[in-house]
Symmetry: C3
Subunit: 349 residues, 3 copies
Amino acid sequence: MKPEQTKKVTLAQIAELTGGRLESSPDLEISGIAPIEKAKPGQITFLSGAKNYRQHLENLSKSEASAVIASEDAPEIKLPAIRLKNPYFGLVKALELFSPDNRPNYNIHPTAFVSEHAQIGEGVTIEAGAVIETDAVVGSGSWIGAQALVGRESRVGENTRIYPGVKLLDRCQVGNRCIIHANAVIGSDGFGFTNHEGRQLKVPQVGNVIIHDDVEIGACVTIDRATMESTIIGNGTKIDNMVHIAHNVIIGNNCTIVAQVGISGSTIIEDNVTLAGQVGTVGHVRIGKGTVVAARGVVTSDVEPGSFVSGFPIKPHQEERKILAALRKLPELLKKVRELEKNSPTKDE
Amino acid sequence: MKPEQTKKVTLAQIAELTGGRLESSPDLEISGIAPIEKAKPGQITFLSGAKNYRQHLENLSKSEASAVIASEDAPEIKLPAIRLKNPYFGLVKALELFSPDNRPNYNIHPTAFVSEHAQIGEGVTIEAGAVIETDAVVGSGSWIGAQALVGRESRVGENTRIYPGVKLLDRCQVGNRCIIHANAVIGSDGFGFTNHEGRQLKVPQVGNVIIHDDVEIGACVTIDRATMESTIIGNGTKIDNMVHIAHNVIIGNNCTIVAQVGISGSTIIEDNVTLAGQVGTVGHVRIGKGTVVAARGVVTSDVEPGSFVSGFPIKPHQEERKILAALRKLPELLKKVRELEKNSPTKDE
Amino acid sequence: MKPEQTKKVTLAQIAELTGGRLESSPDLEISGIAPIEKAKPGQITFLSGAKNYRQHLENLSKSEASAVIASEDAPEIKLPAIRLKNPYFGLVKALELFSPDNRPNYNIHPTAFVSEHAQIGEGVTIEAGAVIETDAVVGSGSWIGAQALVGRESRVGENTRIYPGVKLLDRCQVGNRCIIHANAVIGSDGFGFTNHEGRQLKVPQVGNVIIHDDVEIGACVTIDRATMESTIIGNGTKIDNMVHIAHNVIIGNNCTIVAQVGISGSTIIEDNVTLAGQVGTVGHVRIGKGTVVAARGVVTSDVEPGSFVSGFPIKPHQEERKILAALRKLPELLKKVRELEKNSPTKDE
C-alpha cells in the first residue's frame, strides 16, 4: 500500500477555492472531508439543506469535525464555517480538493493494444488491456480505462474519461469532458426486424451514436446506434446506471435520466427534461423542454413543454396523485355502492 | 482515416436485389441510403408505412433523394421508385448493400488468447483481447469481438457474431447465425438458495444455457444457466437490450422480447410470443403460443395461446384499457358516491 | 474435448454427505443428478415440495432415475430414497458432489496483468486477460475470472470468486467467500450533481463500496461508490442480476434482492429484508428488518420492521390485493353509479 498522502490546506484556502464567506479561523489546517457523523478532528464537514435538516443540525452540534460548509441561510453554528448561497458548490470544490488522484503516470500500458492506424492525442492515458482499434481517435488528455474498447473509426474527444470495460463500438463519437462509466455499451445495434415470410429479418443498423460534450453516462448503460444516421445525446446531459436508449433516439441538452429508464426507438427528448427512475417511453414520442416525468411513469404520447407528469399512462402529476389516493378508498367504495343499490328506488320498484 | 469507399450501384441492380418493381430510371447510379429528411442527391431513401405517413409523404416531396423504396400501395411518387409489397424487405436489402464492412482481415489477433485445446473453424475472426478457453469450439465463419470470452467447453456455431465484451461462460452453447451484442452474459449462475440453519445456502447451478440458431441477443442481457439441465432460447428468437432471463427458463422459436424485460425462473414461453418493454413474469408460468404481453405487464399466471394481455396482474388488453380509462374518473366517482350517500333513503332513516 | 469424467459414489455415501436417512440400497452406485423427467438410470433425482407437487409425484413414478432425494413428509416412494427434513439441503450437497470442476490448475495466466505492487495470496487463480492493479490485494484461495479487473487499492478477501468481466473499481472491498457474477460493476460513481449557474456540476464521488462476507452479486449488477464514506452490503446478502444500487446505500445482513431492483441513494435496508423483482425505492428511506416488498413495489417512505408490502406506493400487501381485485370491478362501478344518479332523489328534485 502507498503511504497515506495527507493533504493539508487552511480553511482560508478552502474558502477562497469555494468562493465562500469564512466566519473565523482562517489558519486552521484541514486534512479531509467527511459526513457530519463520521468526521474526525482536522476534517471539514457539510451541512446539507436536504430533508432531516433539523436532525443534521443536531448531529452537527455533536460532530468531531473542525469546520463546516453551510448555507448562508443556516442558523448560527459553533464550528468555524464557510458560508455559501449554494453550499453544494462548496461541497463539490472541497471534494475535488481531497479527491484521491489515481490516474496512472504512464501513457499507454504495455498490455493495451493501440492500432498503428489510431490517432492518440497528447497526455492520453490508456490502461491495461484496453483496445484502441484501427482509425480510432482519442483526444488530448483523455483517459481510457482497463479493458475498455474504442472501436474502429470511433472518436473520443478531449479530457474525456472512459471507465474500464466500456465498449465504444465502431464509428461512434464521444465529445469533450465526458465520463462514461464501467461496462456501458455505446453503439450496439438497434432492435429492428421486419416480418418476411414468417421469419423475423434483421434490419441492418448502419448508423452510429453521437455523444456531445460534458455528458456523463452510467455503468451498464446501453445506447443503440441508429438504423441510418445517428442516435444523439446532447451537451451536458447526465445519464444514470442501466438506462436503455434505443435506436434513433435524440436527447437534448442538460437532461437528467435516472437509473433503469428505458427509452424506445425514435423518441425525441428536448432540453432540460428529467426522467426519474424506471420511467419508460413508447417509441416515436416527443417530450417537451423542461418536462419532468416522475418515477415509474410510462410516456405513451407527446408531452407538452414544462409538464410534470406521472403514472401509466402519464397524466398531470397532481391528477395521478389524486387517483393513487382515491385507489385506497376503492374497496370501500365498492361496498358503499352495493349498499346504495340495495336502497335505490329502482331496486324497490 | 480510410478513404471513404463509395460504392455505386444502379437502381436496376437494387431493384433486382430487393425483388422490387422499378418504375423508371434503371441506369441511375445510387451511392448510399438515408432517411427522407437527410438524403442527398445520389442517395436512395425509404417511405415507411408507419405512423405519420402523410408527413412522410410531404417530406418526400421536398427530399433531395434521387430515388425511393416504397410500398406497392403508396400513391404516385415523383422520384424514381422501387415498389414492393413489403417495402421493409427492400430497406433491409438496400441497407445490407451499403453497410460498412468493418470485419478485420486477420484470423486471430496477436493479443487474443486461444487455448491450444480449443477448436477454431475456417474463416473465423478473433479480435484483440478475446479469450477462447480450453475445449471451446468456434464454428466456421464466426466472428468473436474484442475482449469477448468463449468459456471452457462452450460452443459457438457457424457464422455467429459475438460482440466485444460478451461473456459466454463455461459449457454454454450458441447456434449458427446468431448475434450476441456487447457485454451480454450467457451462463451466469441462477439465483437459487435454500434456507438452512438461518442462512441462505447456495444451490449449485450445474446446468448450462443453450441458444439455438438465428437468435439475436441484446447488449447487457443476462441469461442464467439452469440449476440442472439447460436454460433454452429457441430458433429465431430476438431479445433486446438488458433483458434478464432466469434459470431453467425455456423460450420457444421466433419470440420477441423487448428491452428490460425480466423473466423469472422456470417460465415457459411458447413460440411466437411477444413480451413488450419492461414486462415481468413470476416464476413457473407458461405463456401460450402467439401471446402478446403489452409493455410493463406482469404475468402472474399461465396465459392461454393467442392472448393479448396487459397490466399487473395481466388481464385481457381491452379490459385493462377500460380500467385505465375508468381510473381517471375515480376521484370524481368518490365525490359522486359521497353525494349519493347524503341523499340516500337509508341516510334519512 | 476432455473425456467425460464420470464420478461414481454409493447411495450410502450421498446419504452421509447430506445427513439424510437412507431407506434402502446403500451400495447402489450413482453417477449423476438430474430432474425427474430427465434422469437416466444410474442418476439420482430430487422431489421438491414446490407447487405442482402431485404432478412431480406422478412424474417420479415414471422416472428412469435410480434413486431420489425427498422430504421426510413425502409419501411412500418406490425408488430408493434419501429422506431429509429440508430436502433442498440434500439437493445442494448432491449438486456440489456432481458439479463439474472447471477451476484451472495454474495460478496466474500468462496473459493476465498483475501489478508488481499487488499482493496475491496463496492458491489464487487469475485467468486470461484479468488485470490486478497497483496496491490491490487478493486473498488466499480466491479466483479472478477472465478479463476481470481488481482496481487500484481494492481488496478481495479469501476464497472469493470474481467472474469474468467484473469491474471492481479503485479502493473498493469485497469480503471472504463472496461470488460476483460476470460483468458486474462495483464502485461506479454515484449519480450526484448540483445545479450551478444553469449547468449540472458533478459532485465528486470519493467514497467506496464495501461488500462483507458470503455475499453473492448477480451479473451486470451496478453498485455505486458513496459520495464520501462507503456504500455497504452486509454479510450473507444475495443480489440477483441487473440490480442497481445507488450511492450511500446501506444493506444489512442476509437480505435477498431479486433481479432488476433499483435502490436509490442513501436508502437503508435492515437485515433479512427481501425485495422481489423490479422493486424500486426512492432515496433516503429506511426499510425495517425482515420486511418483504412484493414484486414491482415502489418504496416511497420508511417501512416498519416485519412488514409485507406491495404496490405503488407500497401498502400492506393484503390491502394492495384488495385494491387490485376491486380495480377489475371499476368500469362496472362507473356504470352503476351513473344508474344510481339517474334514480337519485336529488335528480328528481
